[in-house]
């Protein structure tokens, strides 16, 4: 008989500031030792559900609760946030915010410090927890010298109390690059080996979580449980598409090939998947079909790098001898892991950083002779976090800002701003305060505020970070319109392989400051050597190709070609 760890019974919750309940009629039992994924797009109520388990609801976020939630037999509303923290450990989405200590050891000790545990008792426990997550060698390290993945490990170690048998991971992959994401999923899986532990993962990135098996997936939609089933069952259903969750790439490929998913064994795990003979045949036929070759871009160059080297500290170049040429109207992915030099390359294009040697060309002109402001009129840079760009209080004023400081006449400002607002589908919201819109819409505001200057080149820094599939698709659709209809050259700085695959033709790969590849996107993504050198992650198409004994490059190319045809139609 399985012992229940968390039980929701006829549970509803409504935040005090909202008019509608965020959670409706939740009936859910999670058993001891289970590993459960709670899946849902943003606004589906999945984080609210988690906060009802760890006690942030009702003790920190106030509202009305009906029904009951029990954690290890204890009704949460009769406990406290501290009482619950003894059994439930929560690793928050933003591992940087969770890192409150000034060193790794201090942060792991934070909960014990709060219990006023004497230092000599803390030391061995800190060492033990650090060893559990593999951070023993970094006890004295300071937060700003750690990578996102390391910070997350520290966050996990920091919640591993002696009785913490329930671990909640709130969007653990959001801030990590692909390789680190894999490591995180593996670490979570290792923690789940201990059958005393119950693991709850909250995510919308299904394919990345399925890198390791989960027992059960609870799909949330509009505050209700839309599905509660095994990964295989869920993937075979049409619920993912219906609720705006991206399905794994190989499943999409199977659908393109017209396969029946029903008979496939282990559909949830690409490594152990077993196709029916019929499905295999269809896949083989699909992938060996010849696709139309992609047209060569023969336009003139807009941005060029000629043996560019740049260093912050003498002797340690962040960009080393980089050369490439970007043509007008291209869509390019600049990929590489964090710290590989891709953001510095963007800064060199924008003139915020100037090369130590070599030349950066903008429209064939040496950028040395151009000021940051002048480059800004040709190259627009959109930062990753829109909150770091927005200055004015209404959308209209924000979009007009760059024109206002150039002291343009009122008519011109109005005309240009209207065009940019329309291009970003923001015109009808132009008088709204910027704070009232969603993250995805804020991102569109920042793009519009750059577009008013009519730059030829748009650089977007991690456009998919921190967004669910729905707002991501929305933004990409809009960027692609800018490319197709306004002829803008688009540069994505990203480590998201899906994004590169779906939205670009060419990829420039950085590793340790060097350009290690500059080729068609399918060729780059199918190249095992480049992917591992750049510390990136193979897409599941690669593994699929291996199963079918086909060339990964061919599989990837066929997939992209089919997708582009489909989107045109």
């Amino acid at each position: 008989m399985k012992e229940p760890a968390i039980v929701f019974k006829d549970f509803s919750f409504q935040y005090r500031v909202q008019h509608e309940p965020t959670l409706h009629d939740i009936n859910l039992t999670i058993y001891k030792g289970e590993k459960v994924l709670i899946l849902g797009s943003s606004g589906s109520g999945k984080s609210t559900l988690a906060n009802c388990i760890n006690g942030l609801i009702p003790f920190s976020h106030h509202g009305t609760m009906t029904g009951s939630v029990t954690v290890m037999g204890q009704e949460t509303r009769e406990s406290s946030i501290y009482g619950l923290s003894k059994t439930v450990g929560t690793v928050l989405q933003d591992s940087d915010a969770q890192f409150v200590g000034l060193s790794v050891a201090e942060d792991i000790a934070f909960a014990m410090e709060n219990e006023a545990k004497p230092r000599r008792e803390m030391v061995p426990i800190v060492e033990e927890h650090a060893a559990t997550v593999g951070m023993s060698d970094f006890l004295g390290a300071v937060p700003f010298n750690l990578s996102g993945g390391q910070k997350q490990k520290v966050a996990i170690a920091g919640v591993l109390g002696s009785n913490v048998n329930i671990l909640i991971f709130d969007e653990p992959l959001a801030a990590l690059d692909p390789q680190m994401g894999n490591t995180a999923v593996e670490l979570i899986d290792d923690l789940a080996r201990d059958k005393e532990r119950t693991i709850i993962i909250i995510e919308h990135r299904l394919e990345d979580v399925l890198h390791r098996n989960v027992d059960r997936i609870v799909l949330m939609a509009d505050g209700r449980i839309a599905a509660d089933m095994t990964p295989d069952e869920l993937l075979k259903s049409d619920l993912l598409q219906k609720h705006g969750i991206r399905e794994p790439l190989y499943v999409t490929a199977m659908k393109y090939a017209g396969c029946e998913l029903e008979g496939t064994e282990n559909l949830g795990d690409i490594n152990t998947i077993r196709f029916t003979d019929e499905a295999k045949g269809k896949l083989m036929r699909f992938f060996t079909e010849e696709s139309e070759p992609m047209p060569e871009n023969t336009a003139d160059e807009v941005v060029g790098f000629d043996h560019v080297t740049y260093e912050y500290d003498a002797g340690k170049p962040v960009v080393r001898d980089a050369s490439f040429s970007i043509k007008r109207g291209e869509r390019i992915a600049v990929i590489g892991k964090n710290g590989a030099g891709k953001s510095t390359a963007a800064k060199l294009i924008c003139g915020v950083a100037r090369p130590k040697s070599g030349t950066v060309r903008i429209d064939g002109q040496d950028a040395k002779s151009l000021s940051i402001k002048e480059i800004g009129e040709r190259v627009g840079y959109v930062m990753q976090n829109p909150n770091q760009m927005i200055i004015k209080d209404t959308i209209k004023k924000e979009v007009e800002y760059a024109l206002t400081i150039r002291e343009m006449p009122q008519d011109t400002i109005r005309e240009k701003a209207t065009a940019a607002l329309n291009a970003c589908s923001l015109y009808s919201m132009r008088n709204w305060p910027v704070d009232t819109v969603s993250y995805g819409q804020k991102k569109r505001i920042t793009v519009a505020s750059i577009l008013v200057l009519e730059p030829d080149v748009l650089i977007l820094d991690e456009p998919s970070a921190g967004q669910d599939y729905k707002s991501y698709t929305e933004i990409m659709k809009f960027i692609n319109v800018l490319n197709r209809e306004y002829g803008k050259t688009i540069l994505f700085i990203t480590h998201d392989m899906h994004l590169a695959l779906e939205n670009t033709e060419r990829a420039i790969v950085f590793s340790d400051g060097e350009v290690i590849a500059d080729d068609k996107v399918f060729a780059v993504l199918a190249n095992d050597d480049i992917i591992s050198r750049a510390n990136l992650k193979q897409t599941s198409l690669y593994t699929l190709a291996k199963h079918l004994c086909l060339e990964p490059e061919q599989v990837t190319r066929r997939f992209i070609a089919h997708e582009r045809e489909a989107s045109k139609a």
Binding site: V100, E113, N114, A116, V126, P143, Y381, N387, R406
Partner: protein, 306 residues
């Protein structure tokens, strides 16, 4: 980032670095109190010995220290002295107890021997104070600073504010640079080319996203702290406050004597048997000192007297 700040985030290797945060805090406060308590240049000079030895023993990077010291000497020393000579050239009278003019340009512009001595004493005091702070700043990591404050029975919430503030500074610095770059790309002139007014306005606008995105994280940080039981108990321990070493114990005993000495100095030399002038001066015999209150010199009080 790290090497631009004087304070260290990573603990250093020397014996002074390895002292407990509470010991460092105690010594720092005692030296600060002693320097504040005395205006006798001989005592101040003696008080500089320990900080100098401590700083040398930590083998610091001297370049930023020298830069900082020279900036301080130029701004408060040179500029401050010139200002003082213009504003109240006879200030030495009330502090030292005499007025011997050694150079005079006009009725309102002159230099007295006593004012020069006064400048020397206040400057020495500032340098001593600077050295004490440097000794502390070089030796202490922010978490030791916070645990040192806890040792002084500061409410632990204040200690958390200190350590969290330090935790945030590097984030703010990198965010600042990002925002500044993005503003410049949108065409905002932030270099010296723009006028002071324009720059102030532009910087003001730059601060909005900086402040908004910094304060935007309050909730998630507070949640992370609540979820790990912050603020539940009336007390809290500090991982950074390690067990006392032998050197710590010796220094603490020394500190008790030092504290007693400071107390004695204040009670005996400043209250019971004070020197007739605020500052001792080798040029003026004790008997020749003329007492004069500083308040007689305050410019706006003179207007009332007329």
């Amino acid at each position: 980032m790290n090497n631009k700040l004087v304070i260290n985030f990573v603990p250093g290797p020397t014996p002074v670095h390895k002292l407990a945060g509470s010991t460092k805090m105690l010594i720092f406060l005692l030296f600060t109190a002693a320097i504040i308590a005395t205006f006798d240049i001989r005592v101040i000079a003696a008080l500089m010995i320990v900080p100098i030895i401590a700083i040398i023993s930590m083998r610091p990077n001297y370049k930023p220290l020298i830069v900082l010291l020279s900036v301080m000497l130029v701004t408060t020393g040179v500029i401050g002295s010139i200002m003082l000579l213009i504003v109240s050239p006879d200030t030495g009278f009330s502090h030292v107890g005499g007025s011997t003019i050694i150079w005079q340009a006009s009725e309102k512009l002159f230099i007295t021997r006593e004012t020069l001595w006064y400048l020397l004493v206040t400057m020495t005091k500032r340098v001593a104070s600077f050295l004490t702070v440097m000794m502390f700043a070089l030796a202490t990591t922010p978490s030791e600073f916070a645990s040192g404050l806890a040792f002084l029975h500061m409410p632990y919430k204040v200690c958390t504010i200190v350590s969290l503030a330090y935790r945030t500074i590097p984030d703010i610095a990198s965010k600042f640079i990002d925002i500044r770059n993005s503003m410049q790309m949108r065409g905002v002139e932030l270099s010296k080319k723009a006028s002071v007014g324009k720059r102030l306005k532009a910087t003001g606008q730059l601060l909005i996203p900086l402040i908004m995105s910094s304060f935007g994280r309050v909730e998630s940080i507070a949640n992370a702290m609540d979820l790990r039981g912050y603020g539940r108990l009336k007390t809290r321990t500090w991982y950074a406050e390690h067990e006392l070493t032998n050197l710590d114990k010796i220094l603490r005993i020394a500190a008790i004597f030092f504290g007693a000495a400071i107390l004695f100095y204040i009670v005996y030399f400043r209250i019971i048997n004070p020197y007739p002038a605020e500052m001792w001066c080798p040029f003026i015999a004790k008997e020749d000192i003329i007492a004069k209150s500083q308040f007689e010199d305050i410019f706006f009080l003179k207007w009332f007297n007329k």
